[in-house]
């Protein structure tokens, strides 16, 4: 009997993904382990392997289709001895019921209505509440309702929200308007005539949408505060040069030291390795450090797990491998989902210092600036030292000022006396 191949859930939280490209075509023989297609998730492109053997009978969801719900049939595999007639049995009702993919032309309703039916945007798992009109306009405009903030009753997405989203304006409800001087303010008027400079529009990738959603949520809902500390790097740089001169098996970067120091400082101040939840403070027992990596598609944070148990060389080599995977979009979900603390280092771009946005649900993010020679006062006299400014952004709901300061002090002590990091 023919086998339906369903859209896989490549991570526990995945509800839909984009079908990147098919690596097999209809009629190709399939062996278990063959790569059938590429699935683009929130953050990565993953190869989807066949489990069963047979012949690829029919592709139900075309390459390039966006927003394919998890568990929606994407193809039909024919087992040995079966021919195309077996397709009908499987592809029949189940595929017709599959609501999302416009590419399932073969499964389109028989009697085409003279007008478009209301667009049922079905997401398995979390249902999107939107009015029929909002759905229609979103569909026509190619807007993913999951990226739209609803302002209607119980957060339902209404027409005005979709129009705002498509106009690029923030979807949040307008603030309290001041009382007018003379003219009553009419209810908000729909899209104004377009004025402004010419532009081209780059469609949002899944990754960009996730970045936008998560960081907006973080900056809007997390009470951030910031602590900055200067660390003198000269000893660390000397140690790094010394260690790097001893072997070709590793090439330590300043950032590797920062990861190691962070891991050890978190061991010392475990209260900073924590998340806020509505009911409890979650203290992480493992020290898993997310490290922000810029990729052509946006920011991603692969994780150095159990960083407190790893030496500098191990951290360095692991980080290099993760960075390459991140840039190629090949990170597996477990390699970037989770983590208890994030480091973002823009020192290599010459940034002196900056304040990062917390990567939810984590409680802290450490923003690392460039090590640069600065005048410092040492023992009552001016001196020159290589100094690196680090700014800790903290979720005040979970980490108070003193705890943040304690963490930074521990971090600074390790960075400035790097031999202690090797203990």
């Amino acid at each position: 009997m023919a086998i339906q191949i369903l859209m896989p859930a490549l991570s526990p939280t995945m509800t839909e993904g984009n079908l990147g490209k098919w690596l097999k075509k209809e009629g190709d023989p399939i062996k278990s382990g063959d790569i059938l297609c590429e699935i683009e998730t929130d953050k990565a492109t993953m190869e989807f392997e066949a489990v069963d053997e047979g012949t690829l009978g029919k592709i139900l969801v075309a390459a390039g289709t966006q927003g394919v719900a998890v568990n929606q049939p994407i193809a039909v595999l024919l087992e040995e001895g079966e021919d195309a007639s077996a397709l009908a049995k499987v592809a029949g009702p189940a595929a017709v019921a599959a609501p999302v993919a416009p590419a399932t032309a073969a499964a389109a309703p028989v009697a085409a209505a003279p007008i478009a039916a209301s667009a049922p945007i079905v997401a398995s798992g979390d249902r999107v509440f939107a009015t029929p009109l909002a759905r229609r306009i979103a569909k026509d405009g190619g807007i993913d309702l999951k990226t739209v903030v609803g302002s209607g009753p119980h957060g339902r997405i209404v027409k005005a929200d979709v129009e705002k989203a498509s106009a690029g304006a923030p979807a949040a409800a307008a603030g309290r308007a001041p009382a007018p001087a003379a003219v009553p303010s009419a209810p908000p008027v729909a899209a104004l005539p377009e004025v402004g400079p010419a532009y081209t529009e780059v469609p949002l990738s899944s990754m960009r949408k996730v970045i936008a959603r998560r960081l907006t949520e973080a900056k809007q809902t997390i009470p951030h505060f910031y602590l900055t500390m200067d660390c003198v790097l000269d000893k660390l740089l000397a140690l790094r040069a010394d260690l790097n001169g001893r072997s070709d098996a590793y090439k330590l970067s300043v950032n590797d030291f920062v990861i190691r120091a962070t891991a050890l400082a978190l061991r010392k101040v475990p209260a900073a390795n924590a998340s806020f939840t509505e009911t409890a403070i979650r203290l992480y027992t493992d020290v898993d450090i997310s490290v922000a990596v810029a990729t052509p598609n946006g920011l991603i944070t692969p994780i150095v797990k159990h960083a407190d148990f790893k030496g500098l060389a191990a951290i360095s080599n692991e980080m290099k491998a993760l960075a390459v995977k991140a840039r190629d979009g090949k990170l597996k979900p477990e390699e970037f989902q989770g983590g208890g603390f994030t480091i973002s280092n823009l020192g290599m771009f010459g940034v002196k210092e900056f304040a990062a946005i917390i990567n939810p649900p984590q409680g802290c993010i450490l923003a690392v600036g460039a090590g640069e020679q600065r005048p410092i006062v040492k023992d009552g006299a001016l001196a020159i030292a290589t100094v690196m400014s680090c700014t800790l952004s903290t979720d005040h709901r979970v980490v108070d000022g003193a705890v943040g300061a304690e963490f930074l002090a521990a971090f600074k002590a390790l960075i400035e006396d790097p031999l202690t990091m090797l203990l």
Partner: protein, 466 residues
């Protein structure tokens, strides 16, 4: 807090004011209403409600006169105007008692008198010029409503020249009646007295009757009114009113021609003006534009802590608009999340003339003016089984859709019971349904509401029964 200090003091106890007070009480706020005349306001005492009682009389009377068409016989049909008016007053009285009870139940303090702003956060109440109470309020909601607009030379005298107020308690059913103004108020009285047998003439300054309605509905209504015997002048003006002991002579000018008519009574229904006087607005930052208080979308005036709702705050002049604004205003004051400003395209309007008229949203012309490509659906009462069974075959249901998005932009109805039907489109529009949802909805058979379905189908070329 003492008994004279409140979170909210509402000046005016009409459908805006008393609803504001009850909502505020529900939210745990200490609230007072200051009312100078009748709780329930014009709506309940001199407007919406008593006119509906009169028009019900007209409807029953009309049916009695057509008893034969239902296979019934009725002889000696007539009316006793005093009893008709008494019934109408009784209905209003019953509801007024109801509002009094509701306010009491919600522990709203009621002050009998005229309220006036008396400095920041203060309201002075007086009755017949004598001070009654000085109230302190963190927030003051002005809900004093409106009254009939008058025009020079046509000042109402309560005898020959009436406003709605005298027309509600007529001493006679005038043999010849002139109604100036063909908005909802004018047309309802025209319809009532026409049913009682008056020779009714309606003069409208604009080019059609019921000028806020869709043009097609206006035309349909005019035809129907004329068939019932009304004389209608549009794009017309009245001049030179002269009174004798029991008659009025008026010159009607239309299309460059003038003619003098003689009538027994005149009803002035040319709109309303806001009751902005005597409120102590002078010296505050409250802005008055002509006769209405200027407010923003949250009903805030220019003066912090002072709000205005309902007729006082401008059109549309509808009780349900006032009540809804009351709720928005109070919820915003109470700091409730997710309060939404009122969208005027979602406010239905009803006129209880014969045939009834009801609408919500944009007319066809307005929709086009706003740049919509439209699809129009129509369905006539004559195509509906229930309408034929009722003997009410005059009417139509018109729908206006955006051709691109399927948004229901407006719905316009004329015919029996359409004032009860319009809520269906209003709910649909508020929930932002498209034509697809309305088509998929199952309407009960046999009902007048099936026409609402058919009209939607017709807009997309799919009407079944016509």
């Amino acid at each position: 807090m003492s008994d004279t200090s409140f979170d909210i003091v509402v000046i005016g106890g009409g459908p805006g004011g008393y609803v504001a007070a009850i909502r505020a009480a529900q939210l745990g706020l200490k609230v007072a209403v200051v009312e100078r005349e009748h709780l329930g306001g014009i709506c309940l005492n001199w407007g919406c409600i008593p006119t509906k009682a009169l028009l019900r009389t007209a409807e029953v009377f009309r049916n009695m006169k057509h008893a034969d068409s239902f296979g019934l016989s009725a002889q000696g049909i007539g009316f006793d105007l005093a009893k008709v008016v008494a019934r109408s007053r009784g209905v209003a009285g019953q509801l007024k008692a109801g509002v009094t009870h509701l306010l009491k139940k919600n522990k709203v303090a009621v002050f009998d008198g005229q309220g006036k702003l008396a400095g920041k956060g203060k309201v002075a109440v007086s009755k017949d010029g004598k001070p009654v109470a000085d109230l302190a309020a963190r927030h003051i909601i002005l809900a004093t409503g409106a009254r009939a607009r008058t025009m020079p030379g046509f000042e109402p005298d309560g005898k020959l020249v009436w406003t709605y107020k005298e027309a509600l308690v007529p001493d006679v059913a005038p043999k010849r009646l002139l109604v100036i103004g063909s908005g909802a108020i004018g047309i309802e009285f025209a319809s009532f007295f026409n049913a009682l047998g008056s020779e009714v003439t309606v003069v409208e300054m604009l080019d059609r009757v019921l000028p806020v309605e869709d043009e097609e509905i206006s035309a349909f209504a005019r035809k129907s009114f004329e068939k019932q015997g009304m004389k209608i002048f549009t794009s017309a003006a009245v001049k030179g009113l002269t009174k004798s002991a029991s008659e009025v002579k008026v010159t009607i000018e239309a299309f460059g021609k003038s003619q003098e008519i003689t009538v027994d009574r005149v009803i002035l229904a040319i709109g309303i003006v806001g009751n902005v006087e005597g409120l102590g607005l002078e010296g505050t930052k409250v802005v008055v534009d002509r006769t209405h208080v200027v407010v923003n979308q949250w009903l805030e005036t220019g003066e912090p802590g002072v709000y205005a709702i309902g007729d006082l705050a401008g059109p549309p002049w509808l009780a349900h608009k006032a009540s809804h604004e009351a709720v928005i205003c109070v919820e915003k004051i109470a700091g409730l999340p997710h309060v939404h400003p009122l969208d005027v395209t979602l406010i239905p309007g009803c006129t209880y003339c014969h045939p009834q008229v009801a609408s919500v949203g944009l007319s066809e012309a307005k929709a086009k003016e706003k740049g919509h490509a439209v699809k129009i659906g129509r369905f006539p009462f004559i195509g509906n089984g229930k309408a034929i069974a009722l003997g009410e075959t005059e009417g139509m249901v018109k729908t206006v859709f955006d051709a691109k998005t399927g948004e229901l932009l407006g719905a316009h109805m004329i015919g029996a019971e359409v004032t009860e039907l319009i809520q269906g489109y209003m709910v649909a529009k508020t929930l932002e349904t498209t034509e697809a949802d309305l088509m998929n909805a199952v309407f009960p058979h046999p009902t007048l509401s099936e026409m609402m379905h058919e009209s939607v189908l017709d807009a997309f070329g799919r009407a079944i029964h016509f």
